[in-house]
Subunit: 420 residues, 2 copies
Amino acid sequence: MASQPYERKHKVTVIGSGNWGSAIAKIVAENAAAHNNIFQEEVQMWVYEEKVEVPKDSKHFDPADTLCQGPHNLTEIINHYHENIKYLPGIGLPKNLHANPSLEDAVRDATILIFNVPHQFIIRICDQLKGKILPFARGISCIKGVDVNEQGVSLFSETIGKKLGIYCGALSGANIATEVAKELWSETSIAYHPPPLDSKAPSPSASTTEIVHFEHKDTSGQLADVKLQALPTQYPPVDHETWKALFHRPYFHVRVVDDVAGVSLGGALKNVIALAAGWVEGLGWGDNAKAAVMRVGLLEMVKFGDKFFSATINPRTFLQESAGVADLITSCNGGRNYRCAKLSVERGQSIEEVERTELNGQKLQGTSTAEEVNRYLKKQGLEDEFPLFTAVYRILEGKMRPEEIPNQIEDIPERAGSKL
Amino acid sequence: MASQPYERKHKVTVIGSGNWGSAIAKIVAENAAAHNNIFQEEVQMWVYEEKVEVPKDSKHFDPADTLCQGPHNLTEIINHYHENIKYLPGIGLPKNLHANPSLEDAVRDATILIFNVPHQFIIRICDQLKGKILPFARGISCIKGVDVNEQGVSLFSETIGKKLGIYCGALSGANIATEVAKELWSETSIAYHPPPLDSKAPSPSASTTEIVHFEHKDTSGQLADVKLQALPTQYPPVDHETWKALFHRPYFHVRVVDDVAGVSLGGALKNVIALAAGWVEGLGWGDNAKAAVMRVGLLEMVKFGDKFFSATINPRTFLQESAGVADLITSCNGGRNYRCAKLSVERGQSIEEVERTELNGQKLQGTSTAEEVNRYLKKQGLEDEFPLFTAVYRILEGKMRPEEIPNQIEDIPERAGSKL
Ligand SMILES: NC(=O)c1ccc[n+]([C@@H]2O[C@H](COP(=O)([O-])OP(=O)(O)OC[C@H]3O[C@@H](n4cnc5c(N)ncnc54)[C@H](O)[C@@H]3O)[C@@H](O)[C@H]2O)c1
Ligand SMILES: NC(=O)c1ccc[n+]([C@@H]2O[C@H](COP(=O)([O-])OP(=O)(O)OC[C@H]3O[C@@H](n4cnc5c(N)ncnc54)[C@H](O)[C@@H]3O)[C@@H](O)[C@H]2O)c1
C-alpha cells in the first residue's frame, strides 16, 4: 500500500470527545503522524462546545494565564494545553489533534469518520451531518450497545450508515478509556465489511459525485438498496490494513474482522450478563458461580446473534475476538453494571437506588439493554430459550430473586450455542 | 430407566479422600441415597490411612471421648464423626458414606469407580487394583491435568482405563472443593464416551467373565485393541443419565458430554494461562490486559486440542462447558497459579521462591504443565504456533520478561482457533 503513489491522503475526523472519544482521538492522531504516507497528519476532533475552568490542581493551572481565569471554551483549552481537562484529565494529547467546535467544519473533506459519542446523541449528529460529508467517506462507530426494539435489533453502525448513505463499520473490545489513554496494554476488535461495489460501474474520480448503486444484504437479513460511492482512485484504498494502520498501537492491539454484528452485539449483551454476575457475587457464592453465569451468558450471546443476525454473524467472534469473551470477562470483573448489581444484593437495595447513589448521574447500560432485549424476545415468544437474559429482566422487574438464577438457567446449556 | 426392573444395583466406590475426594464422595453418597433404585445406598470411600488427632477447636472435640485422646485412624474418625477432619474440616458427610482403609475391600463388587487422588499416586493405585476390580466396572477420573511427555499427551482417564482394562471417563469444571462442599452453587462437566461394544458379541451375564474385544480409536488417534466387557444385563445401564443421577445436585450442576479429551485438557492448560494472567496483573496492567491474555490462551487451548486430539476432540467444549472457559475464568480470578505469578512480579521474586513461601509445601501445577507442554511443542517444532504457552515457559526459564508478553502474542490470533 505504502509503495503505491496516491495523489491524496485520507483526512481523519473524530466525532466526539468524551472519555472514550478523546482516548481514541489520541490513538488515531498518533497513527496519522506515524503513517503520514496514507493519512494527513492533522486529525480533527469535533467537540461539543462547553465552558470549563482549569481546575486549581491541574498541572496546567497558572493564575497568571488568562485561560486559567474563569471559564473558557473547552476547544480553546484542548488546543492550548493539549489535554481534555474535563473528559480525559491528566493525559497529554498529540499536537496534531485539533479540537473543533464546528461539526460542519470538522468533517469537511474528511474521507474517514470516527463516531464516538454517547448513543443518545448520534441520531441528531447524523441529521446535522447529512449533506455535509463526502459521499464516499467511510466510517467506524465506537459506540457500544445496539438499538433493540420491537421491530428488531439494529446496530449503531447500520443506523449511521443508512442515515448518511455511507458505509460504517464498528470498533469494540475489552477497553476502559482511562486505561487505554494511560497506554496500558489492551486489545480491540474492528469489524469492517462493506458490500461489494458493482465492478461494472465506473470508479468515480474525486471530482465526480457519481453514485454506485448495489444490493446490500444488511444484518437483519433483508435486501436493502443502499447507495454507496466507490472511493476515488486518487486515495489509498480503505481496507482492513488501513484500519489497522489507523488504530493499532504498541499498547492497543487491533484485530480487523468482517463480523460487524458479532462485534457490536458483544459490547451490548455483556452488560446484561455482568448484572447477573454481580448479583451472584453479591450473594457470596464465589468465583465458581460467577464463572457459571458467564459461561451460560456467552452461550446466550451466541444464540442471540444466531437467531437475529444469522445472515452475517460469525459465532466464532464471541470466542475469538476481544469484543466477545474478553470484553465479557472485563465487564464481569469490575465494570459498572457488575459493581452496582453486587452492591444491590449486599445492601438489599434496588439497583435504581444503587445507580442513584453510586453513579453520579450516569446510567447503567445493562438495565436498559436487558429491558429492550426482553421486550423483543417476548414479542417473538422466545423468552424461554434465553433463560439467563430472561432471569435478569425478571429480577430487575422484582418478579424473581437472584437466588433463583441457578434453577432458572439449569436447562439451557443443552439447547444453546448449537451453531458453534 | 427407573421403571425397568433390574436385579442388581450399582455399587459405587470413591478412591481417594483428600479435599476434592471427600467433597465428591459427599455428593455421590447424597445421590446414591436419593436414587436408591439404581445405586446401593452405601458408598465406599477408600482412605489412605493415617493417624490424626481431633483438634481442640473441632466441634467434635470432647476430652472424655477416647477418639479425642491421642492420634487415631482417620477412617475411624470419619466413620464415627462423619467428617474428614483433616482434608475437609467443618463439613458433615452423609451417614451412608463409609471410609475404608483397604483398597481391595473398598472396590470389591463395585461397578462404579470414582478416581480422585493427587495425580502422582494414581499409577501405584492402579497397580494395586489390577485383578481386584470387576472386569465390567466403569470409571470416572476427577484428576486434573494431563500427562504430557515427549511421546505425546495422555489423559489420566486413558491411563486408568488402559491399566485396568476398563472404560474411564473424566470429570472437570470450575470447582473449588471447599466451595462445593459448602454447597455454594457451581457447575461441572463429565465426559463419558465408551467405544461401541461389538453388537454381535453376546451380552455377558453377571456370572460370566467373557470378554468383548473391539477396536477403539483412542484420543491420540491410534487404533488400540482394548478389551472392554459389556455390563451384565442384571444392572441398569451406565450412560449419561446415570452419571447425571450420581453427580448432579441442586448446588452442583452437571452437564454430561462425549468429549473426554476436551474436558481433561481444559483442566490442565488453564493453569498455564493463569500464570500469564497473574504476571500481567502483577504489572498493574489492569483488567483489559488480563482479559487479552485469557482470550489468547483460550485460542491456544482450542488449537492444542485440535493438533493433538483431532480424532475425538470437540473444540466447542472449551467455549461451552464448565471445564473450558468457566474453569479458565475461575483460575485466572483467584487460583493458586494466578496468585503466585502475581506475587512474583509484585515482589520481584522468582515463582519458585513465592511457591516456597506461600504454598506450605504444595506445588504449583501450572509450572510443571508449562514445562511439559513446551518440551512436547519443541520436539514437534511447534513453539511458534503457541506463542502464549511458549512465552510462559520462557518467563519461567528466566529468558523472557512478563513485559514482553504483548509483543510475543501479537500475531497468533490470525492463526489460532481456525477449527471452531
Ligand atoms: N468510557 C469508556 O471506557 C468506553 C469504552 C469503550 C466504549 N465506550 C463507548 O464510547 C461511547 C462514548 O462514551 P464516552 O465514555 O466517551 O462518553 P462520555 O460520557 O465521556 O462522553 C460525554 C460526551 O458527550 C458530549 N455531549 C454532552 N452533551 C451533548 C450533546 N447534547 N450533544 C452531543 N454531545 C454531547 C460531551 O461533550 C462529551 O464529549 C459510548 O457509546 C460508550 O459506550 C466507552
Ligand atoms: N482441591 C480442589 O479444589 C480440586 C478441585 C478440582 C479438582 N481437583 C483435583 O482433584 C485431585 C485430588 O486433589 P485433592 O485436592 O483432593 O488433593 P489433596 O491434596 O487434598 O489430597 C491429598 C490426598 O492424598 C492422599 N495421600 C497422601 N499420600 C498418599 C499416598 N502415598 N498414596 C495415596 N494417597 C495418598 C491423602 O490421604 C489425601 O487423601 C487432584 O487431581 C486435583 O487436581 C482438586
